[in-house]
Homo-oligomer: 331 residues x 2
């Protein structure tokens, strides 16, 4: 690989001049500029991002970190695309890491990202008081939380109005005549799960319905637990007539349980899932969901981060995007 020095030699100028041409900054006379450009082209020169990042203290390093629980979750995959597309548009690269909701992995990757000198990091914390993320923030690296958030923190964040989304879903079910509504929740130490749970309560309260604890189950956001929780609920002496499942993977699991019992949707049991699925339309019947604007969340977070880099002093921004109840035929 040709280096700055090679180009300088070839164009008979100093490395400083070449550097200036690359960063098309400062004043370099068009004549020399073209000379250097020509030399760069001839040698197929590509600036070395590593050296550049090492040296450059202020200014952009053109590298972002993104840590998500699991790229195989379509919600996070969509969000990741939002991040990537905005980053690409600004010539930033993204380093993507999967934490598997594991603090140790998260910590490993945060260390890596920091020692890679990323400009900033986007992530959904593993819990509301995720110690690793809290420590990260102390170091001063720009961080934007997405989807989930930290308790009581003035910082850049992009959330979805989970409480409202859940409210609308449950409200819809109640208006359809359902009274026994099963809830399959996720871990309660993450903000989204708690908020959605509150939305459920809100809707029940709004209709003056009591909340029966036996209809409420806590899973772990994964497919298997969705299936298990659904089995439990359907085994109840007086089983729910509708199921509201708090994320996409658990919804898939619940659907498996329902099909295994040859129950008909929505005749025997109505279903609403949180998170849209790319194949929701292809399901039979097409699934009603609370659609989160995942792509937009990723976009917004990246834009926020970019703005923060430009102006480290700017006020913290707190974005709350709206989810949308997409009614199809499963309820």
């Amino acid at each position: 690989m040709a280096s700055l020095t090679d180009v300088a030699r070839h164009a008979q100028v100093s490395i400083a001049t070449v550097s200036r041409v690359i960063n098309n900054s400062d004043k370099v006379v068009p004549e020399t500029r073209d000379l250097v450009r020509k030399a760069m082209a001839e040698l197929g020169f590509k600036p070395n991002r590593v050296a550049r990042r090492l040296r450059q203290k202020g200014g952009f390093r053109h590298l972002l970190g993104l840590i998500i629980p699991d790229i195989q979750n379509p919600f996070f995959a969509e969000m990741a695309r939002g991040v990537e597309d905005v980053a690409y548009a600004h010539k930033f690269a993204v380093m993507l890491c999967n934490s598997d909701e594991d603090l140790r992995k998260e910590e490993f990757y945060i260390d890596v990202l920091q020692s890679e000198s990323v400009d900033g990091i986007i992530l959904p914390p593993i819990s509301e008081r995720d110690p690793v993320v809290l420590k990260l923030i102390e170091t001063g690296v720009p961080v934007v939380t997405v989807d989930r958030s930290l308790t009581h923190r003035a910082m850049d964040k992009v959330e979805v109005d989970n409480r409202r989304g859940a409210f609308e879903a449950v409200d819809h079910l109640i208006k359809l005549g359902h009274r026994r509504i099963g809830l399959i929740a996720g871990r309660l130490n993450v903000s989204t799960s708690r908020e959605r749970r509150l939305g459920y309560d809100d809707a029940m309260a709004a209709h003056k319905l009591p909340v029966a604890p036996e209809y409420i189950r806590g899973g772990d956001f994964k497919q298997a637990s969705g299936r298990a929780m659904a089995e439990e609920l359907l085994d109840l002496p007086s089983p729910p007539t509708a199921l509201f499942v708090l994320n996409n993977l658990m919804t898939v699991g619940a659907l498996e349980a329902i099909h295994r019992r040859k129950l008909r949707i929505p005749g025997d049991i109505a279903v609403i899932g949180f998170d849209d699925l790319p194949w929701a339309e292809a399901l039979d019947p097409p699934l009603t969901v609370v659609r989160q604007p995942a792509y937009e969340v990723g976009q917004a977070a990246t834009e926020l981060l970019l703005k923060r880099l430009e102006d480290p002093k700017r006020a913290e921004t707190h974005l709350k995007l709206l989810p949308k109840l997409v009614i199809r035929n499963s309820c």
Copy 2:
């Protein structure tokens, strides 16, 4: 961030000694080693990967590049996890990029990865003679192709036996009594698509059945084209009784078309998809698919790459993993 120099000063040794402790190489007496370790702990020292990569010529830079068409495709997401998990186990980080099957984007990311001094790159080429990838290989960077491959190239690659997978699927359909079998293919300049097409022909030939060109449609691997191609096939005066769709996204599209027409599966139309889907079991009816070992493909490719780094002279390895026909109820 504390640097090597800080640690050296704090421990009253030279930076060389600290470096040696970090790379726990060479001979440094346990006494000093502990002294340095203590200093590192006290200062919360994390070696700077950027500086390290810049300096280190031989040896591992602990960074891999992975370029895939789209992380939102579950096949590639699963593969990416395979890559990531092996990388993580070896303390490598992965830089993941989405090319969107766009040569320009692919080229941009290849440039980025090279100038990030990655140890090597894993990718499915955009076409069998992808010029960007060909050029990349010339530069000498270790490259492993996955899923798709380049024509006539002795290089490390991990493929799936696409021809055989397709053969088994079509053979199965024929044995079930189907004669008019629609094929929804992808771009024909990618190896997987061509191979699968050959498997279809093989199966027809094995049963001495003619191949009717009107039952064969070429899509672009995306959901919309799967839907469109399915519509076309179902509009035929004598429509196929079974559909074999050559990738996951197009299968979802085809399913949409089928549901829109209120056709019953498998009664009215049988369906087999290439690529398993995490939700295949949750579909109604559960979908029969040719399952590719995507995770294993990613794993194997990463292991291959790691071996290549250890021994640049080793013979090129060509892996061909076996797909599996997973029979559920859609045919």
